[in-house]
Symmetry: C2
Amino acid sequence: MTQTAQSMQSMANAIRVLSMDAVQAANSGHPGMPMGMADVATVLFSKFLKFDPARPDWSDRDRFILSAGHGSMLIYSLLHLTGYARPTMDDIKNFRQLHSVCAGHPENTELAGVECTTGPLGQGLAMAVGFALAERHLNGVFGDDLVDHRTYVIAGDGCLMEGINHEAIGLAGHLKLGRMIVLWDDNRITIDGDTDLSTSEDIAARYTATGWHVVSCDGHDFADIERAIAEAAADPRPSLVACRTIIGKGAPNKQGGHSVHGAPLGAAEIEASRAELNWTLPAFELPADVVADWRAAGARGAAASAAWDARAAANPNAAELARRMAGDLPDMAQAETTFAAWLEGSQKVATRKASELALEVLTPVVPEMVGGSADLTGSNLTITKATPHLNADNYAGRYVSYGIREFGMAAAMNGMALHGGVLPYGGTFLVFSDYCRNAIRMSALQKAKVVYVLTHDSIGLGEDGPTHQPIEHVMSMRMIPNLEVFRPADVIETAEAWSLAISNTGTPSVLALTRQNLPQLRKSGPNLTAKGAYRLEAAAAPRKVVLVATGSEVEIAMAVRAALEEQGIGADVVSMPSMSRFLAQDAAYKADVLPAGVLKVSIEAGTTLGWQAITGLDGLNFGIDTFGASAPADKLYDYFGLTAAKITPQVVAALQNAPRPAADVQN
Amino acid sequence: MTQTAQSMQSMANAIRVLSMDAVQAANSGHPGMPMGMADVATVLFSKFLKFDPARPDWSDRDRFILSAGHGSMLIYSLLHLTGYARPTMDDIKNFRQLHSVCAGHPENTELAGVECTTGPLGQGLAMAVGFALAERHLNGVFGDDLVDHRTYVIAGDGCLMEGINHEAIGLAGHLKLGRMIVLWDDNRITIDGDTDLSTSEDIAARYTATGWHVVSCDGHDFADIERAIAEAAADPRPSLVACRTIIGKGAPNKQGGHSVHGAPLGAAEIEASRAELNWTLPAFELPADVVADWRAAGARGAAASAAWDARAAANPNAAELARRMAGDLPDMAQAETTFAAWLEGSQKVATRKASELALEVLTPVVPEMVGGSADLTGSNLTITKATPHLNADNYAGRYVSYGIREFGMAAAMNGMALHGGVLPYGGTFLVFSDYCRNAIRMSALQKAKVVYVLTHDSIGLGEDGPTHQPIEHVMSMRMIPNLEVFRPADVIETAEAWSLAISNTGTPSVLALTRQNLPQLRKSGPNLTAKGAYRLEAAAAPRKVVLVATGSEVEIAMAVRAALEEQGIGADVVSMPSMSRFLAQDAAYKADVLPAGVLKVSIEAGTTLGWQAITGLDGLNFGIDTFGASAPADKLYDYFGLTAAKITPQVVAALQNAPRPAADVQN
C-alpha cells in the first residue's frame, strides 16, 4: 500500500466510523452501505468530483446523488469531512433527531450539497438522468465555458431492481448522456438476504443492451476504483461502474451479511470494528491528519470555481444563465397581455387544447421551459413551435420524447428542476399519474417546480373505458402536501392555471385537462384562478343554492343554474380550479364565495369523498364513486347522472325536503 | 403458399376486417395492432393455444393475455371466430358502446375468455407472470394430471418500455417460468412515431440478460411464426418471440405508420384495405368457409378438455383443486376460535406483528394463501411457518421473494388471483403503495381478491422520515372504488380485518399496519370490524363528543376520552377500521354510532381532507396535512400535535365556543 493509499484508507475509515457511530447513537439507521461504499466514495470525492464546499450553489459543480438514500450517513460524512458549513459534528450527533439537518434520508430542502431527496428506491438514479439531461441542455444553450459538469450517482441493488431503473437507463442510453456515471454498490445483499433470493439477471449485460458502458472494479482497491471511474469518464456513453463491495466492511463479524444493512451494529460490534480499523478515538472525534486530508480534498474545487467565475464575468450570456438558475421568470407582460385578450373571444376548445394554446404563448417567452410527453404528444398537446426536439443530436432543443416511461419522465423532470436552469413540464393521461405517483409526491417534497400536464381527466374521454378513466385521481392528488392541482373549466382558466403554475415557487403543479371541448365561460379578468375558487355567475333570483364545480363540470353547473333560475330558484355557480388555493384564502373570502344558509352542491366527475369539506354533510355531492365505463362521453355523463336534467330535480328536492339551517358552514 | 397457408391467410384477414370495421363503426379505437398481429394470433389460436370455447372456465386451459389491451378487437375477433358464446356479432357491432361486452379495452368482468383487464401498459405481461406462477404452483401441489398449461401474451413496444416490464421479466426469469411465452408485436412504432424517437435498446439482449429465451420470426409468415412458437415452447426458460410485423398490415396506404395506431382508418382506406385483402363481403359479414376454419380451430380443445375431465374424475385431489379454483374458503371455524380466544388476552404488539400472528393462524388452514414481500419480509412480517419459499426449486412453496419490485409484485398477485386457485397477499411499506398504485386499482377493477399488507403506516415509523411516512395514502386509497382499506387499531381488529379480507368476494383489501406497538383495546366480540366502525368505549358522563379514530390513533382517542371524562365531559370513542364499510351500513346504525347533536372529532395520522364526511364541517379533524419528518415516533406525535395533551384542550375549547346545533349530521 502506498502512502497515498494509506491516507485514503484512513479517510475512508473516517466515513465508516462516523457512520456506525451515528447510527448507533440514533439507535436507528443503515450502517451497511456507508461502510461498504466508503472506499469508492473517498476516491470519488478526493480525485474526481468537482465541487467547492464553500460554494455549494456553484452552478457548474458536478452533481453527486446518493440514490441509495438509506445510506445517508455516507453523504453526511462526506459533506462534513470535505468542509461544508453543514452538517457540523453536532448535526451528525443529532442524526435522525427532530429538526436535525441529518435526517433519516438525505433531504435537499435541509442541507446544501444534497442535490435531491432520496430514499424511495430507484428515483435518485432516475432523477440523476434529469440532472445529466439538464446539464447537456444548458451546455447546448450556453456552451462549455459556463456549463460543463458531470453527474455521479451511488446506487444499490434496490435502485437497479426497481422498474424505474429500466425507464431511467433507457432514457439515458437513448439520449447518450455520457457525463452520467453510476457507481453501483454491488454487494449482492438485499434486506431479505442474498440477491440471488430474488434476482438472476446479468446486470452488466442489461446495461450494455440499453446503450451503457459498463466497467467493474474492486470496490475496496483504491487504484482499481480510480481506474474504473477514469474509464467511465472517458467513454462517450453513460457508464455503470460495478463496484464489487462487502456490505458493512469494517464490522468484522457482521460484514457481508444482510443484518448489517439496516440496524445499528451494537456496542460490541462497534468495539470490534474499531479494532479492525485500528481506530482509537472515541465516537465523533476525528484524527487531525485525516481531517486535513479530507479538507484538502474539499479544497480541490476552489480553483475551478474561481476560473469559472472569470469565464462567467467575460461571458455575455452568464446573466441569462444566472436568471434561469435562480428560477426567476423573465418579463411576462407580453404573455399576460395575450391571455387578457382571450377574454374578448369565445374559444370552445378542450382544456388540453387550451393548454397547447397557452404553451404557444408561454414557451417563446420562457426559454427555460422544456416540455415532453410519455409518448402521448398528440393527445397531451404538449409540443409547441418554440420547442424543437431535444435529443442527442440537439441538446439545445426543448422537447423530450420520454417514451412510454411515465415514472422515468416524472423523476427526470424532478432532476431537471432541481439541477436548476430548467422549468420542466410533461404530459401523460391523468389516470397514469398512478404510474408516476411517487415521483409527483417527490416533486412536492423536494419543492421542485415541475408542471404535470395530465389530460383525459374524467369519463369525458369516453370509449377507452374504465382503465383509462380517472375517478379518484384528482381528489387523491389534492391530498399530496405542497402539490397544487388545477382543474380549469375553460380556455381562460387554463391560461390562468399555467401562469400560476410557472409562477409558483417551490410548488409543483398538476393540470387536469379534458379531452372534450368546453365552452369559454369566462369573459372578464383578472386571474380569478389565483383565488382557487370564485363566483363565476351570481344568482338572479334570491339565492338558495351554490353550485360548486370544477373543469368540465362547470358547464354542467351553469346548465343546472339556468334550470333552477327558470323555476325561480336563485343559484350561484362557483368555479373551483384549485381547491387547495381556495382553502388557503381568508375566512371572509371563503364565506363570501360559500355563504352560510344556502345549500351547497358539488359537481365533479370523480370521487365525492372529500367534497364534504366544501359542501358540509347537508350539501349534495354529485360525482362518480365507481369505476367508469366504455362508451361515448355524452352517454357516460348521462349514465352516471352528471347532466343538468338529472341533477336539477335532485337539487330542487333537497331544497324542498330539507330547509337549510341558518348557519351550516364553518370555513 | 400452401393450401393451409391460404386458409390461414383468410382466417387472419377475417380478424383484420372485423377489427377495422368495428373501429370504424365505433368511430374510435385502435386498428393497427389487431391488423398487424392477426397472422401471429391466427397461428397461436389455431395451432398452439389449448382452449375450449364451450368451457371458458376450464381450469387447465392455456391462458391468453392481450397485454396490448388497446388492440381489443383482436381478442374480440378471436373469441367470436373460435366459437365462444360471446361476443356475438351484435356485440362486436356495439364495440365501445355503453353496456357492450366489447369495451374499449378488454375487461375480464365482462367477457369469458378475457383472462384479465388490460390497457394500462405493461401490466398485462406482468399479470401473466402471476398466471404462469400460479400454474407452476398448482402444478407443484396437484401434479401434471390436473394442472399443465401455458400462458401466452401478446405485448407491444409500450409493454416492453414501461418500468414494470423490468420487474416482471426479472421475476419470471428468476423463477424460471418456462411455460410463459410472450409474443412481442415488434412493429417499431409507438404513438408518437418510430420507436427510435425514444428508445435505442437491444430488447433481445436485455431479455437474454434477464434469463429469458429469445427467438425471432417474420410475423407475417405463418410457417415462421409456427417455428418460433414451437421453439419457445421447447425451451425451459420463459420465452420472448420477437414477431417482426407491420402495424396496420392490410391497410395499403396507412400500414407501417403511427397514424394507424389509434384512429379509425376512414371509409376510403377501409375500401382500399378490402381491395388489398381481396375481401368482398360488407362489414360484419364473414365467409362461411373462413368461419368454418375458425370453428375447427376452436374445436381443437374439446378432446383435451374431456380427457382432463376423465383424469379429474379419477384424481382424489380434484375436489380440493375445484374448491380453490372456485374461491371458496375451507372451514374457518378453528381459526375463528383461536382469534376469539385472543379477546381474553392482552397482547401489546404492532399491528404488523398482529398480522403475523393472524397469518400464523390462517395460513395453515387456508392452503391457497400464497404470501410474499417486495424485499421487506422482516419489516412486513408476512412469512409464516406454513409458508415455505416458493421458487424454481419448490413451486409448491407458498412464499414468494418478489424482490424490490412493488409494481411487479402487485401485478403478479393480480394474475395469481385471476388465474384462480391462489389467494395472494404481499407486503411493502404503505408509502410505496405509490409504486404499485395502478396495480392496486387494477385489483379492484378486475375484482381480484388480493390482500396488500402495507406496514409502517404513518409518522409512527419514526426516523426514516418523510420519504417513508405515508400522509395521503390511507385516505387516497379509500377513494379507489371496490378497494377495502382496513386500518386496525389492535391485535383483535387486525385478526378481524384479515378474516374479512379473505372472506370478501371480488374485493381486494389493503391492511394498513403500524411499525410501533399498540395496546389491545378490544376485549369482546363478535367481529365488530365487519361494521366498519363501532363504539369501542361509550361515554360515562353525559355525551358531548364522539372521538372517531383509526389504527394507532385509537389509543390516543382513548386517552383524550379519559382526559375529557375527568373534566366531566362525556365522550364516546369510535374505532373505524374500514371507512367504506361503515359508510355502507344502514342509516340507523350510522346514526347510532355518530349521533346527532354532539361534536364529532376525527383523529388519524394522515390527511384530514375526507374526514369531513364523518365529522361534518363543524367537527374537528386532527391529522397531518404536511409531509412528516425524521425523528423518533413519540417526538413526531408530539410535534404534529397528535397527543392527548394537545388534542384535549382543543376539544374542550370547541365545546365551549361553539355549542352544537340540535341536529348537525346527516349520515
